[in-house]
């Protein structure tokens, strides 16, 4: 039986269910200190004074002057300091680090910082500080808008969203012979290495990062762990002892990145019978105080902003701006959930204006193979918008329910969406990811930097190698990511771990199979000794992309989805109770059906939270509800019945036809929910759709 396509046992073994799996906070090293971060308590200002209001004996204290080389987290830009020097740009910005072996003494220590406060800027629409602009032009949108029979305009807003991985951030820096090792809850160990090399310079060449079992990421452990690792390393170097920094929930929520709030403006021209002729779209993302990954979040958001629709004239302008709030960053979907929310709610508003059925409007305009996207990409046979739409409408009996529930408190709405897999444009070509397969006495070992953060990386990679190599699944082991001994397979982000890294592993396995010459791994090992195959990713040669004009093949392939939400509104309290969500999604082919289903169910839950519950309240530039008591994610009692349908349309460039899947399910729930609410006659254009918002929204 093939491993690919069947739900084989997870490579995690039983450890997660017995409590034996070791997460960062479960590790203890001899002589270990606990570290704590002293943070700014004003959103903008200059540091005037620092006073230690405790007996500092026995404490290790670090400030910016302890940084050996460059005081900057090396990411897309080098603008964010590990420790503020003279000015602070947001609340909860790290200023000092203190460490002590006794956690109680550490937490009781009081540091008083005086500031010369400056006027903070919180409103992204008023920020003059754009640090990335994107302009995507197809056809002549202004002219087409003039000629259009109907023009529909609208503004759509989304708020921050907090990741709420159940394991808060945490790392441990451990001095070791000639260097330092970092153990931590991280998505991208090689990002951490890059940041540490920049911070440490040539005086400390030997750093390595070992990923511990990671209790969820969702993008939230993509870039921020570089900051925490830097802090732990600074304390470890100064004290000469292992230093553990574990954030509690409140610190994690106040200080670390969130999904970018967005404001998206649409101006759309159509013919009288519903054909899109012009889409003019303006995307604004609130970047927060530093660059982090915002330029690429904006990029993905803009590329997805016109939705899965065909239109000859499209103009998408995007910008991300600085504000004096904690920097926003990567979060599952990476800009697309924001812009696809806007376009999908806008599509239902267009249907209302035309007096047309929202399904029919989508049938007329949804992308088909051969159609050309906003960036000028001609879609191939693996485009499935119509397939998922028709299946979702049929399966949910959408038309009947829409008619029958009119005038009641029950409603049904849908969204059609897509998500590009892998890095944007030339990203994968520039990244040059590598993967390695090593022969062992009993089988093979996968040695990649891709991390298991719950999604099933180890299992899915092992399945691909199993079938490509033709050996038993049990004889494939997966190395714990340690940057000193695994290949840099690129970050575990962008729905690329299966499609891209899985593909390199498939090629490694094919090459190894031919080298084995018919011998089993153990026979070959006994006869010839070690064998290691390392290969680099080669994207399909047809991919053309021009980063200066934003023209070309934005992604090698896309996943496609249609979500249908059935819900009920309490007309007195304006509470919305989702009853059922049907998620019809096509992502090439599932390598492990149960894991794939888990991605869709989990991503859909996050999307429902984004739609209805998850409201980050910002006060004076900081999250005011930084607790799970008042920042509410879906519980068992909030979740509706989920009906997941996995459709297949293989992508020839992926391993066994697989595309990326991780982010796709995040794009659909919010617009489907708001479109169902619209069908109740409430003109809502913003999420989360809290009762307060519904109560004050105008009628349609």
């Amino acid at each position: 039986m093939n491993a690919v396509g069947s739900s084989v046992p997870r490579k995690d073994g039983i450890g997660k269910a017995t409590g034996a799996a070791r997460y960062a906070d479960d590790l203890v090293f001899p002589g270990m200190l606990h570290g704590r971060t002293i943070r700014s308590t004003v959103p903008r200002g200059r540091i005037e004074s620092i006073r230690f209001d405790f007996d500092t004996t026995g404490f290790t204290i670090v400030d910016y002057r302890d940084v050996p080389a460059k005081n900057a987290v090396d990411l897309m830009s080098q603008d964010q300091p590990f420790l503020a020097e003279h000015e602070v740009k947001h609340m909860a910005e790290p200023i000092l680090l203190i460490a002590h072996e006794d956690k109680e003494k550490l937490n009781a220590a009081s540091v008083i910082i005086g500031y010369d406060e400056e006027e903070p800027l919180f409103d992204p629409e008023k920020s003059p500080l754009s640090f990335k602009d994107i302009d995507i032009v197809k056809g002549d949108t202004d002219h087409a808008l003039e000629q259009a029979d109907v023009v529909v305009e609208g503004v759509y807003r989304t708020g921050h969203q907090e990741h709420v991985y159940i394991e808060p951030n945490g790392v441990i820096a451990v001095p070791e012979e000639g260097g330092v090792a970092i153990y931590g809850s991280v998505q991208c160990p090689f990002y951490v290495i890059k940041a540490l090399r920049c911070m440490l310079g040539s005086a400390h060449p030997n750093v390595r990062v070992i990923q511990t079992e990671t209790g969820g990421g969702f993008g939230g452990k993509e870039e921020y762990p570089s900051m925490i690792a830097g802090h732990a390393v600074l304390l470890a170097l100064k004290s000469g002892r292992p230093v553990k920094i574990i954030y509690d929930r409140a610190e994690d929520m106040v200080a670390t990145t969130k999904r970018h709030p967005s404001i998206v403006r649409h101006r759309t021209g159509l013919t009288r019978d519903g054909k899109l002729v012009a889409m003019d779209i303006d995307v604004l993302l609130d970047g927060g105080a530093y660059v982090t990954l915002s330029p690429t979040v904006l990029s993905r958001g803009c590329i997805h902003a016109a939705g899965p629709y065909s239109c000859d004239n499209v103009h998408i302008r995007g910008r991300t701006v600085f504000t004096n709030t904690p920097p926003n960053g990567a979060f599952r979907g990476f800009g697309a959930p924001q812009t696809e929310f806007a376009v999908e709610v806008h599509m239902d508003r267009i249907a209302e204006r035309l007096g047309m059925d929202p399904v029919e409007l989508r049938r007329i305009n949804a992308l088909r193979p051969g159609d050309i996207t906003a960036t000028g990409q001609t879609l191939r046979s693996d485009a499935s918008a119509h397939m998922v739409l028709e299946e979702a409408v049929r399966r949910t009996d959408f038309d009947r329910k829409r008619k029958e529930w009119k005038g009641t408190t029950k409603s049904i709405g849908l969204s059609l969406f897509y998500h590009g897999a892998g890095f944007t444009g030339a990203g994968e070509r520039n990244l040059k990811s590598k993967a390695r397969l090593e022969l062992t006495p009993t089988g093979v070992r996968i040695a990649v930097g891709s991390t298991e953060i719950g999604q099933g990386t180890r299992t899915m990679h092992a399945q691909i190698v199993t079938d490509a190599l033709g050996i038993p699944y049990e004889s494939v082991e997966v190395a714990q990511p340690d940057t000193s001994r695994v290949a840099d397979s690129g970050p575990t982000v962008a729905s690329r771990t299966c499609m891209v890294v899985g593909k390199i592993l498939e090629e490694c396995a094919i090459e190894m199979r031919s080298k084995l010459g018919g011998l089993s791994p153990s026979e070959y090992y006994e006869k010839n000794g070690e064998l290691s195959i390392e290969r680099m990713y080669e994207p399909p040669d047809w991919i053309q992309w021009d980063d200066s004009t934003y023209r070309g093949d934005a992604y090698a392939t896309y996943g496609w989805g249609c979500d249908v939400v059935e819900l009920e509104l309490d007309p007195d309290t304006f509470e919305v109770r989702p009853i059922k969500l049907t998620a019809v999604q096509e992502f090439g082919r599932p390598i492990h059906p149960a894991l794939a289903r888990g991605q869709i169910e989990g991503g859909t839950a996050q999307g429902l939270g984004y739609a209805l519950l998850e409201n980050v309240v910002m006060k004076n530039g900081a999250m005011a509800n930084s607790q799970l008591t008042n920042y509410v994610i879906p519980t068992t009692l909030d979740m509706p019945e989920l009906d997941v349908v996995m459709m297949e349309n293989p992508y020839p460039g992926g391993p066994f036809g697989a595309k990326g899947l991780g982010e796709l399910p995040m794009d659909g729930p919010a617009p489907a929910v708001v479109n169902a609410i619209r069908a109740l006659g409430i003109d809502l254009r913003e999420i989360p759709a809290t009762p307060e918002r519904l109560a004050t929204a105008p009628a349609i």
Binding site: A17, A20, Y23, E167, G598, E601, L628, T636
Partner: protein, 144 residues
């Protein structure tokens, strides 16, 4: 101070107001119970005290003097529900899993889906959307 932990009597020396979670993790070195929020919202630290699920981050250790405490480690590794959590992919990242399993142990026989949802309403999972957890728990109860 003494209590019964996973079937054996133990004596602990932590401060009586120490959180049970810290005593389990730090003094007794049982790290299977996890801290997700420290305020009784997420349920990752759920253990059984005299058969009742409690958030061990909210319980001063003095309160369990003489009580029977069961943690995830008390199940060994062969409990059918543990196996089903892995096989049904009720565990993704795994950080909520020990608490989720402890909470599920208190379900009555022949539970409905609504019973399962109610029993697990105090345990947050951010990975699965809960569906796979329901599948694992219901299969376990059906087989029992």
């Amino acid at each position: 101070m003494q209590f019964n932990l996973n079937g054996a009597d133990v004596e602990v020396h932590s401060h009586p107001m120490s959180r049970l979670l810290d005593v389990l993790r730090e003094e007794l070195k049982l790290t299977g119970s996890k801290e997700g929020c420290g305020e009784g919202e997420c349920g990752a630290c759920t253990v059984l005290v005299d058969g009742e699920p409690v958030c061990s981050c909210l319980v001063p250790v003095a309160q369990v003097a003489g009580a029977q405490v069961v943690t995830i480690e008390g199940l060994g590794g062969d409990h059918p529900l543990q196996k089903l959590f892995m096989n049904e992919v009720g565990a993704q990242c795994g950080i909520c899993t020990p608490g989720m399993i402890m909470a599920a142990l208190t379900l009555p026989d022949n539970p409905t889906l609504d019973d399962v949802k109610t029993a697990l309403a105090g345990n947050l999972c951010r990975c699965t959307g809960y569906s796979a957890i329901y599948r694992a728990v219901l299969k376990w109860k059906e087989a029992e």
